[in-house]
Symmetry: C2
Subunit: 480 residues, 2 copies
């Protein structure tokens, strides 16, 4: 942030992060000394030293952006985090609470008395309070609602009523509205009177006397047009606007494709109710991508790196349980063929290969289908071609890799029929993988469910079970 | 985009997409008729009809945003795509080429004669040409370079020289620069003279006579301050700026955390060389998340839904080959214990369970580590605590789930020692999974490599091989 030294912001952050951790560890050690030893004269010195440290830390904090403080908090242990948190001003605390991850927010909120919580939310905007609301104790929310003026309270209650992942839940109220029957000169005067435009203001919203949206006036137009002109002459009336109940991910795509910075949000009667800004959209996008990543690895939620073991364990158990269940079920298929294995023990080492490759190719297919569904590239008219293409790929992969694997098996065991069965089983299981990899996401999508969710567990289960069944079944038919 | 009907933009897009596909299929059928039948009189009528369709389609296209056209192209078959492409104006084609995915861009570029390609890039900005450059034939690039004026050519060559994933490669040149020793009134006049501000302009960049960046002037400040004031009095001099060789993902994080819309890009001597805008940052973010998703499923690249089978097959083979190799190697471990399996065939059905659960927990751990590394939450001072925590979780999971699985095995086979071996093997393999899940990403990161890449293949290989080894090894030690 300092112009005298254009280092990358990442480097700068890393450095201040490490300095903070060092200062905090020192502070932590001193805390321990104070608590463990009986009060002696030199304790006084130590406690003064400690205070000096705290002052230094506090000064440092004041110069940091809340997002940077949030990042530092994330990488601190619970104890260090608490120390740092207690040094912060209520107003900063509110901003930082908005920036930290849900998991860390919980640890911070649980540390704060209710009064302090209400204090730190005092300076937040309505939409920011709404972001925090799910994590705040009910009592605190009630006192916050009581402290707001009528307009703000109504807005807060409205925003809280919109389901997550809708535009209504993401919008803010920092819009500057003007009428279309005034001159640009009047608009300029009006803006100068406001004194400061809300963040992310790139356009003014033009409404009629009933607060119905008629268009937008970009700041660029205001700055480059003659001041004598009327708003209605220069405003853009063909604008991208969103309804409060539009899906947030569709709005995200619109922001990306049309390079928007802010856009009006209207209700069913085209009344302007708020605005959607690129910062909210980016946060949403980031969270979505993050969630996707975690979900794919079978994690229900992000984890606080330094929370207790229990919180982490709970986060991971649901998935583990499902996996143990499916793995056991698939293994029962093998149990059916114990006699076959006893007669040809090589089958035991080869069967996991058939299952694994099926799972891998199936995951490739399903990932592409899920992605194309998300991008809206799959339509009723092209889905057939797509299925045929994936089946051909499965057939081709099966033929090529099946032959190679069959050859390797023949070379290892000098048993041509075993090689042939291996090749055949690979081919069939890759076809199964293609069918399953296409159908699970398509069917889930058709049923109106998230096509990504659970696809990989289900797919791995099916390619495992079918892999074992096909391979061991073929072996007992042709080899015994 | 139409105010009279505030439907969601996604819905609108879907509808026009389906209409296009329908019109194109009709056109396609007509094309076939024309080509197959010998020219008769009624062909003339048909060809006229066809032309009418084309005109309608062309009119439709003109009203669509290039990003929407790109989306429609993505969901068309190769033949339909070609038909639509030929209806487009060169200027639109250039914009659309910027918006389509790399895979589809290749199919479009390969269809175009070199001259047409040069035509469609004529109206693009320097940074946009740079985006297309890697996909354009060398001859076309040469003729484009020749057609540019000196400043543009120098800029283009500069941008092309920056490595992908750096700020230099993402920046554009649409910055409006002013001097600090002029009045706001003069700035207003200057802007009015320019006539139109570049997209995404939320601030002007203040430079001295040597083009060294001194600060920024937000449009909001320009609009709300008294016009008699000097730029130097109201400009913000403590700004977030980037160096050309800063990493793009760090810049992305800075845009997110500081809610930036545009930011100056400087070289080593603090000379202003360009600007980075939120639209480029969002595109980059989206591509990164997308790449991550594909990489995780073992796909090297995005795929054109309707490209030939070969392109898709090549995209998937590297991963398949690696997986066959690792699966075979892990299966060799089983081969070592064929005698053990012959003596206790139940081991054959149980061993995949031990391996699978190890892989699952290991992936959970490594995903969290990769994510924390990406967010910069792991520091030298907290990594030890993290390792200890993950080991404890592994131990706990192993003890709990090991006991449950052991109990189930005991119930199925009525064999207490077998159950005990199963429980012990699960516990040990979950510890292996924790160690591997932590160390692979940390070591890769330490070596300066992408911690995500290849982690899951490596991890699955190790938990499979170790799972088989531990389980079958313990069985031959304790059960025979």
């Amino acid at each position: 942030m300092d112009l005298s030294n254009p280092r990358s912001s990442g480097e700068r952050l890393k450095q201040s992060q490490e300095e903070f951790i060092e200062m905090l560890s020192r502070l932590e050690v001193e805390e321990l000394l104070v608590h463990r030893q009986p009060m002696k004269r030199h304790d006084l010195v130590e406690s003064m030293l400690r205070r000096e440290h705290q002052v230094k830390l506090g000064q440092r904090l004041e110069r940091l952006h809340p997002a940077d403080i949030a990042d530092i908090l994330e990488s601190l242990t619970l104890n260090q985090r608490k120390l740092l948190w207690n040094l912060m001003e209520p107003a900063i605390r509110g901003q930082v609470l908005l920036e930290v991850s849900d998991a860390v927010r919980m640890t911070l909120i649980s540390e704060m008395p209710e009064e302090a919580l209400a204090d730190s939310t005092e300076h937040l905007d309505t939409d920011e309070i709404a972001d925090l609301a799910p994590d705040l104790p009910k009592k605190v929310m009630r006192s916050i609602l009581k402290s707001l003026n009528d307009q703000k309270r109504k807005r807060l209650q409205e925003v809280l009523a919109y389901p997550e992942n809708t535009v209504g839940a993401l919008m803010d109220f920092g819009m500057v509205t003007i009428r279309d029957d005034v001159s640009l000169k009047a608009v300029s005067r009006f803006i100068r009177k406001i004194g400061k435009l809300p963040d992310q203001t790139d356009k003014l919203f033009v409404v009629d006397r009933n607060n119905v949206l008629c268009g937008i006036l970009p700041l660029g137009t205001l700055l480059t047009s003659r001041l004598a002109r009327q708003v209605s002459e220069v405003m853009v009336s063909n604008v991208v606007c969103f309804a409060v109940d539009d899906k947030a991910d569709e709005a995200t795509r619109a922001f990306e494709r049309y390079n928007l910075i802010s856009a009006p949000v209207v209700d069913g009667r085209r009344n302007l109710v708020g605005r959607l800004c690129v910062d909210a959209v980016m946060d949403f996008m980031h969270e979505e991508a993050d969630e996707e990543l975690l979900k794919q690895a079978g994690l229900q939620d992000e984890e606080d790196l330094f929370s207790g073991v229990w919180a982490s364990v709970k986060n991971r158990w649901a998935w583990l349980m499902i996996n143990i269940l499916t793995a056991f079920t698939a293994s029962r298929v093998i149990g059916l063929f114990e006699n076959t294995i006893l007669q040809l023990v090589a089958l035991a080492s080869l069967m996991p290969v058939v299952a694994a490759i099926g799972g891998n190719t199936g995951n490739q297919t399903s990932t592409l289908i899920v992605r194309s569904l998300a991008l809206g590239h799959i339509t009723p008219s092209n889905v057939r071609r797509l299925i045929i293409k994936e089946l051909i790929i499965g057939l081709l992969n099966g033929a090529v890799w099946g032959s190679i694997v069959g050859l390797i098996v023949f070379l290892i065991y000098s048993d041509p029929p075993l090689g042939a069965v291996m090749a055949g089983a690979m081919l069939l299981n890759l076809l199964v993988a293609a069918v399953v990899g296409i159908s699970i996401p398509l069917i889930r999508d058709k049923l109106g469910k998230d096509p990504a969710l659970g696809t990989s567990v289900m797919l791995t289960f099916l390619t495992d079970a079918m892999g074992f069944l096909i391979f061991l079944g073929m072996a007992s038919l042709f080899l015994l």
